[in-house]
């Protein structure tokens, strides 16, 4: 089973801790990589193994295109790891039914099922189906199937109540009575603080009668789970999630009735600024970094550090470089100003190469780091290698950012002051990413749509 221990059990926020599972140790606050169709976009397995983000989240719904879903038939003790090519000694895999980043409208869920979205249309997944898939795939962590309405907001009080009841009942179904799972629960209740508190309350209420018998020996549902997930995408459909105070208030209303010792995961943050605030105000432990992966997808190499060095304060600096910009054509500097040890900036020496004949005698090259000028060239010639190198780099920048956060917290520095300095130093609007996205789209339109479609020649 997964264990999560806080460095200082009483500290609610900000806080540091340690996740342990098998041999994998993850210090929190930490980053989690996201996947598309089971793959960290743009990274082949050998490349992802050189990135240092051990926790990877897998949305299951693309596998519903086949029935039975293919990974459920994968042989071996770690079916999901094996199928997707992650090393059980190095990677923690969490699994959710739906892609938490996908905010598109989907047909309504039913009392017994969730409508999941696949490239071959909508699939209804019952709680029993979900349980079956989870037990067959054996992820390290499973997110209990929540009832998040993906129809058009706003939602009536009745709908919110239904959502809470279903999420609770589906969780209870996953808890009982099989071998223990590491379960995360989506914090239901939408944008209503009272509803969120009521949902959390129902997790810690002592169970009795049939309900208790079904989850025996658990005294309440919360006893059977390892932590909580907060999905920002559904909130974003109803409120302005850039309103930091509002978001913090919603998250805190969920946490109020709950014990402080469990893992807190936020999905779909959009900036490092938001991460810092949620650590400061809500004591969040784990964040997905899709925003950094997406930046790589549109040609941005991230370039920021935390804490901001004292001798270096430049107001409103960009978080990275839009390498589509023409002046990078002549810029032979490495991808970020801050030193980086990623496999793009400091490629590993290839000690062993495949030998194809008795004549082959490998002599390792002394590798040189890739430059902004080279990535600029790859972006403008539509070479997909650009994105592979940028994902490697951006994941490393993010990893270092979390190292910095933990170091500041461990030292007992004034975290709030550091967050303020960061906010002043770096542009939170991510104007640079938006600019790059526009240029990326222009290239995309020029070459036909889709990542692969433009690799036709």
């Amino acid at each position: 089973m997964l264990s999560f221990t806080l460095a200082a059990p009483c500290a609610r926020r900000p806080r540091t801790g340690t996740v342990r599972l098998r041999g994998v140790i993850e210090k929190t606050p930490a980053a989690m990589a996201t996947t598309s169709r089971g793959v960290v976009p743009h990274l082949s397995r050998d490349q992802y193994n050189r990135a240092h983000i051990p926790w990877v989240h897998i949305p299951f719904e693309s596998f519903l295109e086949n029935n039975p879903p293919v990974p459920t038939l994968q042989p071996g003790p770690f079916p999901l790891h094996t199928f997707l090519g992650f090393d059980p000694d190095a990677h923690i895999l969490s699994l959710s039914l739906r892609d938490p980043a996908d905010g598109r409208e989907t047909p309504a869920n039913g009392a017994q099922y969730v409508a999941a979205s696949t490239s071959r249309g909508v699939r209804r997944v019952t709680v029993a189906d979900w349980r079956g898939h989870v037990h067959a795939c054996k992820p390290d962590i499973v997110v209990a199937m929540p009832d998040i309405p993906w129809t058009n907001p706003p939602f009536s009080q009745k709908r919110t109540t239904k959502s809470i009841e279903r999420t609770v009942s589906w969780l209870a179904h996953l808890l009982a009575p099989d071998p223990p799972l590491n379960i995360l629960v989506h914090m239901a209740g939408g944008v209503n603080e009272r509803a969120r508190r009521a949902f959390a309350q129902s997790l810690v209420e002592p169970l009795d009668g049939l309900e208790a018998a079904a989850v025996k020996p658990l005294k309440c549902l919360d006893d059977g789970i390892i932590g909580y997930t907060f999905d920002l995408v559904p909130l974003r459909r109803e409120i302005d999630v850039e309103d930091a105070d509002k978001v913090s208030a919603l998250l805190q209303s969920s946490l109020e009735p709950l014990p402080p010792t469990k893992l807190r995961v936020v999905i779909s943050v959009v900036s490092p600024h938001q991460i810092l605030r949620l650590i400061r105000d809500v004591g969040i432990d784990l964040f997905d970094v899709k925003w950094a992966q997406d930046a790589a997808n549109v040609g941005v190499s991230l370039d920021f550090v935390f804490p901001v060095p004292q001798d270096d304060s430049q107001q409103g600096r960009d978080l990275g470089h839009n390498l589509y910009r023409s002046h990078y054509a002549h810029d032979f500097a490495s991808l970020s100003t801050a030193a980086c040890t990623c496999n793009a900036c400091a490629p590993v020496v290839i000690k062993n190469a495949i030998s194809h004949s008795q004549l082959d005698a490998h002599i390792a090259s002394a590798p040189s780091g890739y430059t902004r000028a080279y990535i600029h060239h790859l972006l403008h010639t539509h070479e997909m290698g650009a994105h592979a190198l940028l994902v490697l780099h951006n994941l490393a920048v993010v990893d270092k950012f979390f190292d910095g956060i933990r170091a500041v917290l461990a030292r007992g520095d004034d975290f709030t002051a550091h967050v303020a300095a960061f906010a002043a130093q770096y542009d939170e609007s991510l104007a640079i990413v938006n600019e790059a996205r526009t240029m990326w789209k222009e290239v995309d339109v020029a070459r036909g749509k889709g990542r692969i479609a433009r690799e036709r020649d």
């Binding site: 598309s36 169709r37 089971g38 793959v39 960290v40 976009p41 743009h42 082949s44 397995r45 050998d46 490349q47 693309s62 596998f63 293919v70 038939l73 994968q74 042989p75 094996t82 199928f83 997707l84 090519g85 490239s119 054509a329 002549h330 496999n343 490629p347 590993v348 290839i350 062993n352 190469a353 495949i354 030998s355 194809h356 004949s357 008795q358 004549l359 082959d360 005698a361 490998h362 002599i363 390792a364 090259s365 590798p367 040189s368 890739y370 430059t371 000028a373 080279y374 060239h377 790859l378 403008h380 010639t381 070479e383 997909m384 290698g385 994105h387 592979a388 190198l389 692969i452 690799e455």
Partner: protein, 412 residues
């Protein structure tokens, strides 16, 4: 100058094993060169390429001259440094792409006149200009500018003109190259032209061999344009037979495994083609039992790797056909996975040939390859014919072998 040592010759066929030492290391031959058109093998890093056991790749001069351009390559210190590839590199002359990709190209004695893709201005690529661009790129092997005509051109006079002009352009390339000071680190290859006409080929060979002391190797050009395979191999054989023993021979634009092995048997040392990397992006993995089309639903539940004996990163990590089916043509990472596999497949086919020639078992190697690859499809008749011409009868001793008269490659 390059050092070229022939280490062993096949006792039956004209195949040979050799060692080519260039400024960026040793490349054992015969070898297949993956194509990094835009200074990148689609989606892979230079380190990944190195890990696959590849020591020689190809860059396209036409593309690199457009982007990033010689100025930026100069600032970078050459194409090796620019792309982080520290092993051997070959550049083509830019002529072939000019003819095939430009809207307007007119060949004059001075050079190839084309419309600049940037300005629309008429622009001239001369042999001297091609040399100068290739010097800026800095490839270890550079190719002469040749007058390229399609192998299907019916006009013999045009083919003859192109052949003779290619010889004259070779002289201009030699003069420019030998005065450049680059001849100590970069090696010029001549390209034999003459279409499908053996008399024109002979005349071209005679003239180009006379210039042997000024070139480091010879390419066989003007093929792989859709000509009959039985004509193709006869031209390759004719060229390989006459080309000097002490220079590497490079057959341009071939990449199917059977083509490679036939050419090796005829005496070819090097080949290049975009086919293995391009087909990978469309989901086709190459194996010793033939191509595997990973987009087919029959692989959806196939938990075996593409080839359990393959040492590539994809197969050795156990990536299943089912997983590849799930992501192919949807995720770039799937293209990377199959691209790595296909590059390794090509390298294994050629590495296996090197070992077999060294061990004196090349004819057996050919038989085994064809038995595995073509048992169900039938052996291509042209391969049987070509290999018979160098003393290997694929059908010998087995009357049950099917023969396929078609010229198409095996596909799935």
């Amino acid at each position: 100058m390059a050092k070229f040592e022939v280490l062993a010759k096949c006792h039956t066929t004209r195949a040979r094993v050799s060692r080519l030492t260039l400024s960026h290391g040793i490349t054992p031959l015969p070898t297949f060169m993956p194509v990094a058109t835009q200074a990148a093998i689609k989606g892979l890093t230079a380190q990944q390429m190195e890990s696959l056991g590849v020591t020689l790749i190809l860059n396209n001069t036409y593309h690199l001259n457009l982007r990033p351009g010689v100025q930026i390559l100069g600032e970078a210190g050459g194409a090796h440094k620019f792309q982080g590839w520290h092993k051997n590199l070959l550049t083509d002359s830019g002529g072939f792409q000019l003819v095939s990709l430009s809207k307007f190209t007119k060949i004059t004695e001075q050079g190839a006149l084309f419309e600049s893709p940037f300005t629309g201005e008429p622009t001239m690529l001369t042999p001297e200009e091609s040399m100068s661009i290739q010097h800026a790129i800095g490839g270890d092997i550079i190719m002469q500018l040749d007058d390229v005509v399609s192998s299907m051109t019916p006009d013999r006079a045009r083919v003859e003109e192109a052949m003779e002009r290619s010889v004259r352009w070779l002289d201009r390339c030699i003069t420019y190259h030998n005065n450049s000071g680059k001849q100590t680190t970069q090696n010029l290859f001549a390209i034999v032209q003459g279409g499908l006409d053996s008399e024109l080929r002979d005349r071209c060979l005679t003239q180009m061999i006379e210039r042997k002391n000024d070139v480091a190797g010879f390419a066989i050009g003007g093929l792989s344009g859709g000509e009959e395979k039985d004509v193709f191999w006869r031209i390759v054989k004719q060229c390989a037979e006459r080309l000097p023993d002490d220079r590497p021979r490079y057959c341009m634009g071939i990449g199917f495994a059977e083509d490679l092995l036939v050419c090796v048997a005829l005496g070819v040392d090097m080949a290049d083609c975009v086919f293995p990397t391009r087909t990978a992006r469309f989901g086709v993995a190459l194996t010793h039992r033939g191509p595997v089309n990973l987009r087919l639903a029959k692989y959806a539940y196939d938990f075996e790797p593409i080839d359990p004996d393959c040492p590539c990163p994809t197969c050795s990590a156990g990536t299943s056909r089912a997983m590849l089916y799930h992501v192919i043509t949807r995720e770039t990472a799937a293209a990377h996975a199959v691209t790595m596999h296909n590059i390794v497949f090509q390298a294994r086919v050629m590495g296996g040939a090197r070992d077999a020639i060294l061990n004196g078992t090349f004819p057996d190697y050919l038989r085994t390859f064809f038995a595995n690859y073509f048992a169900d499809f039938g052996y291509p008749q042209w391969c049987v014919n070509a290999l018979r011409s160098v003393g290997v009868d694929l059908l010998e001793g087995d009357s049950k072998i099917k023969v396929n008269k078609g010229t198409g490659a095996k596909w799935e």
